[in-house]
Symmetry: C2
Subunit: 357 residues, 2 copies
């Protein structure tokens, strides 16, 4: 640590800048080698400095989930091309905010029904806001059926919105051995969506897909753009899914050993620091890089109880790093990321934390 930089009180989020840069470069190279655009999802980091690194590495723009995130990245990261990859249902207030953004930068939003296209179109009349039609490729969350994409797109165009293309999120790739099948589903859904647009005489400029687990398997013969988010940091979900080498994980929660109660390790990194996410396939509430066999077996708001699998207990007061299960929700709990750069520790603001609308 640099002289004069006091280490923050635990629990705090610590980022290895070299690993962060390497992860950003690797995805940029993968996209570039495949001839597709990379539009990283900034919901993962919510941090203007990270967005600047992504844009500097060649990202065509950013993906966000909310108008509030878009405002932060336009204002603080200089982003000039932002896609709100969400089926927004606008209000007069949120439409006014989008109009403001559209006067400054390229803005696109998602839409997944003809009704939403007409509603949003009426509130955005005259504004330069583009739309991408969301299709469901198997995650079964939002998104229209791929075969119905043309009808939604036609409604958007009729409502005065500029059509940019189609998008999907193959979120069902988050499961053991699910990545290849989800990527294949994504390819089929995007192909069907493009055909549906063409059937009503429309042509997409952008065919957008991607997620961190499916990234390497994306069909870049169909997709023209990929939107991974978690890849910048990695997390225990990606580790346990086998998507990455744990040595590439760039973010940890640094915790203090506060108790040895019951002969177990008790850390001060609870769910208010790590997040409470636990996917069905997760083996615990986070992983410890220094103890690959250990598991976080119990999580309260301010306690993480760790089974060390027989390893000797680190001393009371010592520091232990925990990789959170789902880093997007972890970062959204913190006001700052502490960036470790060649021994120095600097503070980056999580400026878009809590910007849920």
């Amino acid at each position: 640590m640099s002289t004069g930089t006091p280490e923050p009180a635990t629990p705090y989020l610590r980022v290895d800048l070299a690993r962060l840069r390497a992860n950003i470069a690797a995805a940029a190279e993968l996209a570039s080698a495949s001839g597709v655009a990379l539009r990283p999802h900034a919901k993962t980091h919510k941090c203007p400095e990270v967005a600047r690194l992504q844009l500097a590495a060649g990202a065509v723009g950013l993906t966000v989930a909310t108008i509030g995130e878009a405002e932060v990245f336009v204002d603080e990261a200089g982003a000039d091309d932002v896609f709100v990859a969400y089926p927004l249902w606008l209000t007069p207030d949120s439409a006014a905010r989008l109009r403001d953004l559209a006067e400054q930068v390229d803005i696109a939003i998602g839409v997944d029904s003809a009704e939403a296209a007409r509603h949003n179109g009426s509130l955005l009349a005259g504004a330069a806001v583009s739309v991408l039609v969301e299709v469901d490729s198997g995650h079964h969350r939002s998104g229209t059926a791929p075969e119905a994409a043309g009808a939604v797109a036609a409604a958007a165009v009729e409502a005065g919105l500029a059509l940019r293309g189609v998008f999907t999120f193959p979120g069902h790739g988050y499961g053991p051995d699910a990545r290849a099948a989800a990527a294949a589903d994504e390819s089929r859904a995007l192909t069907a969506a493009v055909a549906s647009l063409r059937s009503v005489g429309l042509e997409p400029d952008v065919v957008s897909g991607g997620s961190t687990p499916t990234l390497a398997a994306s069909d870049t013969g169909v997709a023209t753009e990929l939107r991974p988010g978690v890849y910048v940091f990695g997390d225990a979900q990606q580790w346990e899914l086998g998507v990455l080498d744990p040595a590439d994980i760039a973010l940890v929660c640094r915790a203090t050993v506060v108790s040895h109660a019951g002969g177990r390790l008790v850390l001060d990194s609870g769910s208010k620091a790590l997040g409470a996410d636990r996917a069905p396939y997760a083996t615990g509430w986070g992983r410890l890089p220094a103890y690959p066999d250990a598991r976080v077996v119990q999580l309260s708001e301010h306690h993480a109880v760790v089974d060390l699998a027989g390893a000797p207990l680190p001393a009371l007061g010592s520091r232990v790093d925990v990789v959170p299960n789902h880093v997007c929700n972890t970062v959204n709990l913190a006001d700052a990321l502490w960036i470790e750069d060649d021994g120095a520790l600097v503070r980056w603001s999580v400026s878009a934390r809590g910007r849920n609308s």
Copy 2:
């Protein structure tokens, strides 16, 4: 809603003030009727205005989980008696913050080992910080064995700390039909802890227990103080455990219907608004007061997918309220609570949000 108060964008947290006041009054009356002190856990609400209501209703002081929370409630709620119910392992910095607090108000902290007692005592030498020894009553998180409480207390006294008493958290009462047994465990553990203190010639001023699920079953012949937290708002966990009537739940996340994809209800209240908590006994990721048979069957960061159990889908753009599973983590995601008081909507700051250390 009052004239001139625009409703916030969804998702946002909305509190029914009449229900909040009623919940605060009911716990105060329960404690008063049992002749025990109430020291509510402010980690649930993190909100000075809620703390003021609790103190006005007769609470002897507040419980918090971190020094940061203590600072907020002393500074912003006028709390003059705060217990950090956590086995802190102090650093020189955090000890200095506790010293500052101790010069202003009554401060106590938790300790669960002789080693921590000696360590903290050395950093707090001369400061008026009291300690309560934490004992494990069956939750198996932190806390020493009840029979060892005397040894920890003696170490604290030897280290120059003032002994206030013993405490436990019967968190294993969070389970179907687990409340009565957990309350009985708590009674036995506190009784054994008091005996352990007496065996080394020490007498506790305070014997502290309690949680929202076990509150009504607390053995007030043993405990002199109770520390429930969730009772102010209630949540879906308490609903599903049968601790409360859903009509008494005071906090909801108000969401917008953004999609009918797949014939299901998709709301904009994802895990970044509701929290990702899902206890093993939970039937989903939250409950809908207007649709008691509905379940949140899928939760992403900005999507809650609801199975309405056959009820007609509310229209796109309409508002639906969701009761979060675990309200403490929900509130910690928000900067504000929106308080509904007789038709008006006012903003209360979640001032201690993110104060994890």
